[in-house]
């Protein structure tokens, strides 16, 4: 090997090394410290600067409802665990009649993907333990914040009986004071077909317009009072009227909103 070839080889090698070091950037400290320790520290640094896993549990409604027909305990809670973009999202709601019977109980387990600054696309399953017979649904939903600060949660459901239904929830918050907050809420449930076994008819069912006034002793803990009007409409209402009950009605509610 001539000295020329040797120098040429060194040049090629150093160019390659430069390329290599460029591809593995942010490694200047490897010249001063154990590269393995630096690699571990770099990894830890990345994880702790934007890649954290966080979580939320919020019971938006843990409340007692008083109506002229019957009283009930209502719960609606959701929680998520995950990164900024990918989350496991769990939702549950239900109703416990004061006679000691769980009237409705539903659990959703969803994968939630942030698809835009204010919206998450959600997909998963919903399992209705009550009323019987039990139903399992596929869920495709969109949850997020609409312009003008409307908190939205909408979903399409396809049941194991092949019935399609949809749900839209919208909430708004008004600060009366820094801790006293008025929250209008609308929930619409829409069935695409009859489910005779459940006594469910096509059209709007279980839809409510509500107003709650809460006081945030801490942001995390807020008791509230409110009113709720709604019930079943269209064919579901007809089915209920046949059994001699009022399909719609008023309720006075009192409860607690907590998150942690």
């Amino acid at each position: 090997m001539t000295p020329g070839m040797y120098r040429g080889g060194l040049l090629v090698l150093s160019v390659l090394l430069l390329r290599f070091s460029h591809a593995h950037a942010q490694t200047a400290a490897d010249a001063h410290y154990d590269p393995a320790a630096m690699a571990a520290a770099r990894e830890a640094l990345k994880e702790s600067h934007g890649n954290q896993i966080n979580g939320l549990f919020i019971a938006e409604r843990l409340e007692y409802q008083v109506t002229d027909q019957e009283n009930a305990l209502i719960w609606e809670a959701q929680g998520w665990l995950g990164s900024d973009l990918h989350k496991l999202w769990v939702k549950s709601e239900g109703e416990y009649e004061s006679e000691g019977r769980v009237e409705e109980a539903e659990l959703q387990v969803l994968y939630s993907r942030a698809v835009s600054p204010f919206w998450d696309l959600q997909a998963g399953v919903r399992y209705d333990m009550e009323p019987s017979p039990e139903r399992t649904h596929l869920v495709l939903g969109v949850q997020g914040l609409a312009p003008y600060w409307f908190e939205m949660d909408t979903a399409l459901f396809l049941s194991d009986e092949g019935d399609v239904s949809a749900r839209l929830e919208a909430e708004y918050e008004m600060f009366l004071t820094q801790r006293l907050i008025l929250q209008p809420r609308l929930e619409l449930n829409l069935a695409g077909s009859d489910d005779r076994e459940l006594g469910l008819g096509r059209g709007f069912f279980d839809s409510v317009a509500e107003l709650r006034l809460r006081y945030e002793f801490r942001r995390e803990i807020a008791p509230y009072i409110g009113i709720s009007w709604g019930g079943d409409f269209n064919r579901t209402a007809d089915l209920i009227e046949q059994s001699g009950e009022d399909p719609q009605g008023f309720a006075i509610v009192a409860g607690l909103r907590v998150w942690f």
Binding site: A25, Y33, E43, K46, S48, Q52, P117, P147, L176
Partner: protein
């Protein structure tokens, strides 16, 4: 006094009244200092807590050094987790800079790491942990480096004033709460009552339009600070407002106050009613003296001011920029005297300018319009050639675009080809074109108070990833270095602005920059995501590469609605307040919301350096990069 009981747990320099001693931590041998990091108890405003403290003290010991010396610091870690110390603002070999994962591996539990570096500068600096969120827990302290030459700012007395924010909550809990509900610490929301007060004052039409405008963008005009006095107690030298740190002086003395903002998240507006302050140093370096009555100090900035108090007590008032809390101290000729503590001023609200949508003042300061603000602009700068297509409209989320603030009235629209704007594909449904008619405040095209330029700059482009982490793109960001900070616009006294700062002597490198880099400050407050150019640090593999000794102009565009104290390790920014050779050199610069400003950098420090927003939870969320200065010439 509460302070008397407190003094035992405080370093000598931070003690109140007669107990104060600013001679600094005693060296073990020749400029060798021992610093031990441990979880230690501390007391804030009478309440017991625990911090991650250096030598058991909140704040950490004062390190008083001499320019030209080489210092050795043995840092012992008694924590159960890694720790580190970063020497903020100190020019040193990068492997001594103290950022785990960038410049060294960090200091493991039970280990001792020895830092050693020569001191090439004088002035007021500070040090803090760069590990986890330890900085929030009290891991910070002051550094004073005495000049080798005689000090032209010699005074009879000096105090170190370390401002900071303390919480009894676990900092990781604070961060997690911000991710859950980003506005949970805000107890100054716009209420229904405020709406009616505003309506009666300015007219309901305007109050409604204003609410609709902010609502349409899902932005909160009352979002001034992420973390507030609802959890923070603001400290002066480790003393809460109730503890009332007191500095004693003899009447007639000139006193130098070395201000350091060692907060995790809090920007302060500082004033001493009835006592003018002459700013003589900024971020450690001498500036031409400028007398003010109030200045804002961003997180990590330092300012030295000189005051000459008379024989009476004074209140040193450091109001958080959202005005929900304050740090307070007293300067007094005798112990036990206090002056009146001023009331907190009204919480400011953000404006169109903060979202970079106000066309009222284009361009850079110093270029004054001589056409009386009339936008009879030269043709090449007219809107006739404003290429809206190049604004990347097709990629923009128009739900967050409002044309009201563009102040169309009075502007030449003649040649503006709307058809070419590709608006056919735009979602007009949520765009409030109509608002221009109804909000006179936004019509103020000709803001004579601020220097303006008739020439419209090129429309701002956004060549960076968008996606869920990026809300709002600055359409018309402007240079705001000459502007007062938010909430101080109308203060009836002298307020420091960045253009007031001039280096006292000519800068060492006055070459014109060879090239310009542009970096955007991006965020989604709702998801509490913070990033540069739409990417969190965790999503980036490549550093920002600079080549040895090159001069680079770094232009920062703030697409967010919040001021960000941006900090580069290892090298100074020359803040482009003008094109003179006396630009102020800073290690940290607060970039205002909706601002586009530049700093010049001489890439003379080989190695990898952290570059980040110094709001701790923004950095933690990913608003960070590595700047890598490589020992190579820039490829042609």
């Amino acid at each position: 006094m509460a302070a008397a009981g407190l003094n035992g747990a405080l370093p000598a320099w931070a003690r109140s009244g007669l107990a104060a001693d600013i001679s600094g931590l005693r060296a073990q041998g020749d400029q060798v200092f021992d610093l031990t990091v441990d979880k230690s108890p501390c007391t804030v405003d009478g309440r017991e807590g625990a911090g991650v403290l250096v030598n058991g003290q909140l704040p950490a010991p004062l390190l008083r050094w001499r320019e030209g010396d080489t210092v050795t610091l043995r840092v012992h870690n008694r924590l159960a987790v890694d720790t580190s110390i970063h020497w903020h603002g100190i020019l040193l070999p990068f492997q001594m800079d103290g950022v785990p994962g960038v410049t060294f591996p960090g200091i493991a539990p039970g280990e001792t790491f020895t830092y050693e570096f020569p001191l090439r500068q004088a002035g007021t600096y500070w040090y803090h942990s760069h590990s986890g969120l330890q900085e929030q827990s009290g891991h910070y302290g002051p550094i004073v480096i005495e000049a080798q030459d005689s000090d032209p700012d010699a005074v009879e007395r000096e105090f170190v004033i370390v401002l900071s924010d303390w919480t009894f909550e676990n900092p990781h809990r604070v961060f997690s709460k911000l991710k859950k509900m980003s506005d949970n610490y805000n107890f100054q929301q716009r209420t229904v009552g405020e709406f009616f007060r505003e309506g009666r004052k300015k007219g309901f039409r305007q109050a409604i339009d204003d609410r609709l405008m902010w609502g349409s963008m899902r932005m909160n005009a009352a979002d001034i600070a992420d973390v507030t006095a609802s959890t923070y107690t603001y400290l002066v030298n480790g003393h809460g407002p109730g503890d009332n740190w007191t500095g004693l002086f003899e009447p007639g003395e000139r006193i130098r106050l070395r201000f350091i903002n060692a907060s995790a998240m809090s920007i302060f507006n500082v004033r001493i009613p009835d006592l003018p302050m002459t700013v003589v140093h900024a971020d450690g370096l001498a500036v031409a003296p400028v007398e003010v009555d109030e200045f804002q100090i961003g997180v990590a900035e330092t300012f030295d001011v000189i005051v000459e108090p008379k024989e009476r007590p004074y209140t040193l008032m450091a109001e958080s920029n959202d005005r929900f809390g304050y740090a307070r101290a007293t300067l007094s000729p005798r112990e036990g005297l206090v002056a009146e503590v001023p009331k907190l001023r009204e919480r400011p609200t953000l404006t169109m300018k903060d979202m970079a949508m106000d066309h009222s003042s284009h361009g850079s300061p110093g270029v004054r319009s001589d056409t009386g603000g009339e936008h009879s602009a030269p043709s090449e700068s007219d809107h006739a050639v404003m290429n809206h297509a190049a604004m990347g409209h097709e990629e923009m989320d128009h739900q967050s675009m409002i044309h009201a603030g563009m102040g169309h009235d009075g502007m030449k629209h003649g040649g503006m080809n709307h058809a070419a704007m590709g608006q056919s594909s735009m979602n007009h449904s949520s765009m409030s074109h109509g608002e221009a008619e109804s909000s006179p405040a936004h019509h103020d095209m000709h803001d004579h108070s601020a220097p303006s330029q008739t020439v419209h700059p090129k429309p701002q482009t956004h060549n960076h990833p968008k996606g869920p982490g990026v809300v709002g793109l600055a359409m018309n960001p402007v240079n705001r270095l000459h502007e007062r900070p938010l909430g101080l616009e109308d203060a009836a006294h002298r307020v420091l602005v960045y253009t007031d700062l001039k280096a006292r002597s000519k800068n060492p490198d006055v070459r014109h920059p060879d090239r310009e880099l542009e970096l955007h400050l991006t965020s989604n407050m709702e998801r509490y995501m913070w990033s540069f150019d739409g990417l969190k640090f965790s999503e980036v593999d490549e550093p920002i590469t600079l080549y040895k000794d090159e001069r680079v102009r770094l232009t920062l565009v703030n697409d967010t609605m919040m001021p960000h104290p941006i900090h580069l390790h290892g090298m100074y920014f020359e803040v482009v307040t003008d094109e003179s050779e006396f630009k102020p050199r800073k290690h940290t610069i607060v970039v205002k919301p909706g601002e586009k400003m530049s700093v010049d950098i001489t890439a003379d420090a080989i190695g990898d350096w952290a570059f980040h927003c110094h709001l701790l939870y923004h950095m933690h969320a990913g608003m960070m990069r590595v700047v890598s200065v490589v020992d190579q010439q820039r490829p042609a």
